[in-house]
């Protein structure tokens, strides 16, 4: 799988770079962008447990041109100095319609030491009423499948003080007992974050996040004596270039 990822990266980087030109007035230059969407500490209030301060990271990077991009996504959760879970995606991003892009590629994640690889097909873009959405279907080994739907909306209080809200739903097509996942809707996440853009590219934020395991997945967690719902205050930074 690892070699597949490397091949994928080289496969897409090659053509992107070969079109590079030194012409000054090139309308479609090769650009690179990277963003930290979330880098935050959670102050959680999980009943019956000690207060915990996980560090959560979510970021993206792309290299490419107007219509074709190589796209990378990474997420991670760190806890007590060790990695709780990570997820990485390498995708080919193609502009499909004025407001929508298609993404195809690979995802690898590791949760509590259990690794999973997936093929990814997704789309993201701006829906009417300016709702940012991201939907991806994941096809894994051994007949595993998953679907993730994200939606976000931004409300500017001022030109710099902006409220971002988002929800995320995860569905799974097959039980995965090692990871404590049951078929169906497995978890729901929602967050409200108020950020202050010191520059467009750099904004500290504070907010609340709420996560709830659902259905069979929640039953499984409770059976193991784990919390199935978590509400927390988050503090972090958002940055990009």
């Amino acid at each position: 799988m690892k070699t597949n990822l490397v091949k994928l990266i080289l496969g897409f980087c090659g053509p992107l770079l070969s079109f590079a030109s030194t012409a000054h007035m090139e309308d479609d230059p090769l650009l690179f962008s990277a963003s930290i969407d979330e880098l935050e500490f959670h102050e959680t209030d999980t009943s019956g447990k000690n207060h915990e301060h996980p560090l959560v990271f979510a970021g993206e990077a792309w290299l490419g041109r107007d219509l074709h991009k190589l796209w990378m996504k990474a997420e991670g959760e760190y806890f007590d100095g060790h990695t709780e879970s990570t997820e990485a995606q390498v995708l080919y991003n193609r502009a499909a319609t004025p407001f929508w892009d298609i993404q195809i590629g690979m995802r690898r994640d590791s949760h509590g030491g259990v690794e999973r690889d997936w093929a990814v097909i997704g789309f993201h873009g701006t829906a009417p009423y300016l709702i940012e959405t991201e939907t991806a279907l994941f096809i894994g080994e051994d007949g595993r499948s998953a679907l993730r739907v994200k939606a976000g909306y931004e409300m500017p209080f001022t030109q710099r003080l902006i409220l971002g809200s988002e929800v995320e739903l995860n569905f799974h097509g097959k039980d995965d007992p090692l990871r404590g996942i049951r078929t169906g809707l497995s978890d729901v996440e929602a967050g409200l974050r108020v950020r202050y853009e010191i520059r467009r590219e750099f904004a500290p934020y504070i907010g609340v996040s709420w996560e709830k395991l659902v259905g069979g997945t929640a039953d499984l967690a409770r059976f193991r004596g784990q919390a199935s719902e978590e509400t927390g205050v988050v503090i972090g930074i958002k940055a990009w270039f």
Partner: protein, 615 residues
Amino acid sequence: MPLKRYLLLDVPNRSKRRFVQGLAAAGAAGMGLNPLSLWAGNLPAAAHPAVLRGNRFDLSIGEAAVNFTGRQRTATVINGTLPAPVLRWREGERVTLRVTNRLPHDSSIHWHGIILPFQMDGVPGLSFDGIRPGETFTYSFDVNQSGTYWYHSHSGFQEQTGLHGAIVIDPREPDPVAYDRDYVVMLTEWTDEDPEDIYGRLKKESHYYNINERTTGDLWRDIREKGAAQTFRERSMWNRMRMSDRDLSDVTGYTYTFLMNGRTPADGWTGLFRRGERVRLRFINGATMTFFEVRIPGLKMTVVAADGQNVEPVSVDEFRIGVAETYDVIVEPKGDTAYTLFAQAIDRSGYARGTLTPDPALGAEIPAMDPVPLLTHTDMGMGMNHAAHGSLSKNENHDEHVNHEDAMEHKDHDMPGMDHGGHGMMVKQASGKVSGKAGYGSSREIRHAKTEFGPHVDMRAETPVYRLDDPGAGLRNNGRRVLTYADLKNLNTTPDPREPEREIDLHLTGNMGRYMWSFNGVKHADAAPIFLRHNERIRINLVNDTMMNHPIHLHGMWSDLETGDPQHIPRKHTVVVQPGARVSYLVTADALGPWAYHCHLLYHMPGMFRTVIVK
């Protein structure tokens, strides 16, 4: 005609006739603090750009350290000044300009609005190969026109970093416009950012520079004043279309410092006058991305020329000047009063200013900027109130309404007989038959080409109409008399009264979010040239399928703007097409060779560009 005196632009230098060679051009006298010092030399810097007169000029393109914002930056300059020296020519003379490039990369100079052989037009890749570092290119051509024009680099984004200056051509015949004194008023912007970075940021985050987005505060106010239902109705179209009704400028005062003759708003530019004088102000929009709205509180302005060409005088309180346009106005200030020349950016994110005063010690109040405007359905080309705005419809375009119906139904996506591949499109499209008499515009049906559909185009105007008498969003019904294109009539009779032989339709297209720009959905890199037959008279119909103003500039030939009077069609070199509107003009293809044809917004130009070949 009142007795007229020719004065130099710089009052303190009026007695000196200067034939300046090379860098020695710097040194004109001026007032106030000077933001510019020379990069390498220790020459005195100019507060006003120098005025170079005569018919032989040596211009040197180099770098200079500037400080407009509190931070030192490197500008690209000509003869050490920003703006570049004013070039004062005389109609009927042959001018020779030796331009030396002292930059470490290629450069060029384009004489904007000057009718000349294509080899002298200064567009790298079309007119010539550009000027390599250390090399000198000699421009030489006959000057067969008079008025206010300008010059700028046509290489990369150098225009943004300072390579722009004014050209004033004195007429051979007595000037029909009487004045005692004239000043160039050049409006530009300065940014501390690298223009390549600006372009990159726009591609990554197109609203990066928009600091006037609507906020929750606006929302509550609207709901309180209009009720929730009405507020929702007003906003729902914008939200459904995923657009902002505050999308007025791509690059704004967030990064720009707006300059008047190279002076920041804090310093201000100063022009002196004496009691009783008629002052001619030669406004040039030498900015790269900013439309300005110009007024002089307390003074009427009589517009006497547009894009260097004389027009029937029209008295106004205010005019909007598109990027690359020029307007000459006459003002008659009272002898004991100072006036503010106020040029607010179209998005009201800042302004440039100057003072017209009989006494350098006498200042004038600086007015507040107008509120930030909101775009309307009209600006989306949805024609909600086109009855009020279709200025040409009162002439001959009664069938316009039929076009609206058709366009509303979204059926006309295909252009019959067109090459949908995009490459051969212009040529075939160019053979369209003519509708509408010269001077009145076209009554042709609006159709969107197949190439306008895809990820690179985010909107198409449904019912674009001629809105020549529309001052535009932010200036409508503001209590002031605002100049519109409908006011422009050639002072002389139409030079080429022929009817057009054929029409070319060009839609101005783009995707704001992806920051991609094109004509008819085809960007320059993918487009075939537009071919014109030598000496044919054609009509170009521009339809703006975007939400912003685009100033469209045809090199080498005049754009005869159809404003409804076939006897007095005004000539322009840059024609602004308002958001969601259409504009038509006639062109006499009397200049052989390859020419550039493009949107003059610097960061739209790479894509929204065509090569026009006359043969």
